[in-house]
């Protein structure tokens, strides 16, 4: 988890008890994750003040870009770590649904992941010079539902790991659904993602057929590289309401899991098409009411800054709620969902396909939500939004898949090994 490519500032005298500023900062981010940019900036500013009394000037440290992550932590990287610019998700279907090919593939991938995330080429790498450190590369592996239909694994299915029931607004296309395995590759740049994804896909070829591939981008930094909440293609700040700190941990990590799933989480991937043309024709006032937040600052319509809590009880002069009853951020808010939460990690996509000889471009959000328990958290919230959410006029789910993401693996081990004990 330490930056390799950049000089580490010398720890300032007297800072010892808290560790070097950089580490302090990283710890903060580890919890704050992708969401509460306000809190992160606050924390960093605080650290800056603490350091001001020391004689050693400390250069600003990028927290999103130019990072190095380890696959050997309690949790896999790429879940609560900041969202870098480029992400690709690759789904695979096992050619033969059996334990042996699955374990062989997971072992191969584990060696690859260990090497790639350390900036080293994989064993036998035909393009070794593409491997590099300091590119914020994370590779995250998940197992699809069919894996838990294997006889020896039937009792190992994580709690609440269910397929998402059909929603009235869904227009699902088979080509964006399902998968026995997923690999999520994310990094600062598309070349690194291309490289790592190709290596992993090549090693999978003996055991699995490639399924859908979803590319997404995110801009989670300001001009100076400081972490901020990124925007989706509607131009909205997206991720403001994400949990942080202990709440994030409770929201995401499986509670009381079977030993093999310690440090694990469950993921739903929804490919949600967004009608950008219709959105462009919608007035800004209407756009803000659809969500219940301002477009420029992301502040709730009842507040002044992004980090303000939504005041769901506030009514305007006319007596109508300031945040409308069908506003997306109200309908999905924990206060209206029995405190159900999720960690959302959105990725913007634009895709051009040739239809009847003509290019057709569609766009949307590769919507990822991580939950300790999908059935308990995501599903009821999604059903509530399906029943009533102003945003539904502009958005349509066209893909859906769920995966169980085990914890990290030790250096001399491989991912999900304990599943097969």
């Amino acid at each position: 988890m330490t930056g390799v490519s950049e000089p580490t500032p010398e720890p300032a005298p007297g800072n010892g008890a808290d560790g070097p500023p950089r580490l302090q900062r990283r710890r903060l981010l580890g919890y704050a994750g992708v969401a509460s940019a306000g809190a992160v900036v606050g924390g960093v500013a605080g650290a800056g003040i603490a350091r001001a009394s020391t004689p050693v000037p400390v250069a600003p440290q990028p927290a999103v870009i130019r990072q190095d992550y380890s696959p050997h932590e309690t949790h896999q990287a790429g879940i609560t770590t900041p969202v870098p610019a480029v992400t690709r998700l690759l789904a695979f279907t096992l050619t033969e649904l059996a334990v042996e090919p699955l374990t062989k593939l997971l072992k191969l991938w584990s060696g690859d992941i260990q090497a790639l995330m350390a900036g080293r080429p994989i064993p036998g790498d035909p393009t070794p010079d593409l491997a590099r450190t300091g590119v914020s590369l994370t590779i995250t592996v998940g197992l699809g539902p069919r894996v838990f239909s294997l006889a020896p694994l039937r009792s190992k299915r994580p709690d609440g790991f269910v397929e998402i029931p059909a929603m009235a607004h869904d227009r699902l296309q088979e080509r964006w659904c399902g998968g026995d395995l997923v690999v999520i590759v994310a990094a600062d740049d598309a070349t690194t993602v291309d490289y790592a994804a190709r290596r992993l896909a090549r090693d999978a070829a003996t055991f699995a057929r490639p399924g859908w591939v979803q590319d997404g981008s995110w801009r989670g930094t300001d001009a100076s590289g400081e972490p901020v909440t990124g925007r989706n293609l509607f131009g909205q700040l997206d991720g403001s309401g994400n949990p942080s700190g202990d709440l994030l941990a409770q929201t995401v990590w499986a509670a009381d899991p079977q030993p093999w799933f310690a440090g694990g989480t469950t993921l739903v991937v929804r490919r949600i098409q967004m009608d950008l043309d219709f959105w462009d024709r919608t007035t800004a006032e209407r756009q803000e009411k659809v969500i219940g937040r301002r477009l420029d600052t992301g502040a709730p319509l009842t507040g002044t800054v992004e980090t303000d809590a939504l005041d769901l009880a506030a009514v305007g002069e006319s007596g109508a709620p300031v945040i409308p009853l069908d506003a997306h951020a109200r309908r999905s808010h924990p206060d209206e969902n029995s405190a159900r939460r999720m960690l959302r990690r959105g990725l913007n996509y634009t895709s051009t396909e040739v239809v009847d000889g003509r290019p057709v471009t569609t766009a949307g959000l590769v919507f990822l939500a991580f939950c300790a328990d999908l059935a308990e958290q995501f599903v009821p919230v999604q059903q509530r939004l399906d029943a009533n959410d102003a945003l539904n006029d502009w958005t349509t789910a066209i893909g859906s898949a769920v995966f169980a993401l085990p914890g990290g693996f030790a250096k001399d081990d491989w991912i999900a090994r304990a599943l097969f004990d």
């Binding site: 191969l108 080293r120 064993p123 036998g124």
Partner: protein, 172 residues
């Protein structure tokens, strides 16, 4: 020459750290140990001659003494040799490295396709992608290293490994 540089390097590091130059004792047997990175074995699936293959890896020698990789053992192969590539008749061919492969002190050695490798011959089993092969490396200082190498697809042209004879004569 390499040894001198290493010593110089040590002195420079000490000076930069602001320490008095008290040179630490060189090479001791309980010093840093040899290690292996990125081991893999080429699959025999689809190979023209499935009775032999090769293992590739990087040997890291953090110690103060040069060592040589003198041999290896593999339960799946009746014959294992350490091979190097040499030029014969304008062609690179492999041959047994009779004195082993040199891993300089404080450095490393890459065993790669087209370069030095561990030749696994008279295989008792085929190696499919994803299999794990257990190897034991033997070094000139008497130490051994156990390695588990995944079997991977072979991505480079296979020519160097086609010779049916483990140690081709220069004319072959």
């Amino acid at each position: 020459m390499r040894r001198v540089l290493t010593v110089l390097g040590t002195v420079i590091v000490l000076a930069m750290a602001g320490c008095e130059a008290t040179p630490s004792p060189l090479a001791s047997s309980d010093g840093p140990r040899l290690s292996v990175e990125g081991p893999w074995v080429r699959t025999t699936t689809g190979a023209r001659d499935a009775t032999m293959t090769a293992a590739f890896l990087t040997i890291v020698n953090p110690g103060d003494a040069d060592v040589r990789l003198v041999g290896a053992d593999c339960a799946d192969a009746a014959m294992v040799q350490v091979h190097e590539m040499v030029m014969a008749d304008d062609k690179m061919v492999m041959q047994e490295a009779k004195d082993g492969l040199f891993v300089p002190a404080g450095s490393h050695l890459h065993l790669t396709p087209g370069g030095p490798h561990i030749m696994l011959m008279q295989l008792r089993t085929g190696f499919a992608v994803g299999d794990q092969v257990a190897l034991t490396l033997r070094f000139s200082d008497g130490s051994t290293l156990a390695v588990t190498a995944p079997v991977k697809e072979f991505v480079e042209e296979e020519d160097h490994y086609h010779s049916p004879s483990p140690t081709p004569s220069p004319s072959s």
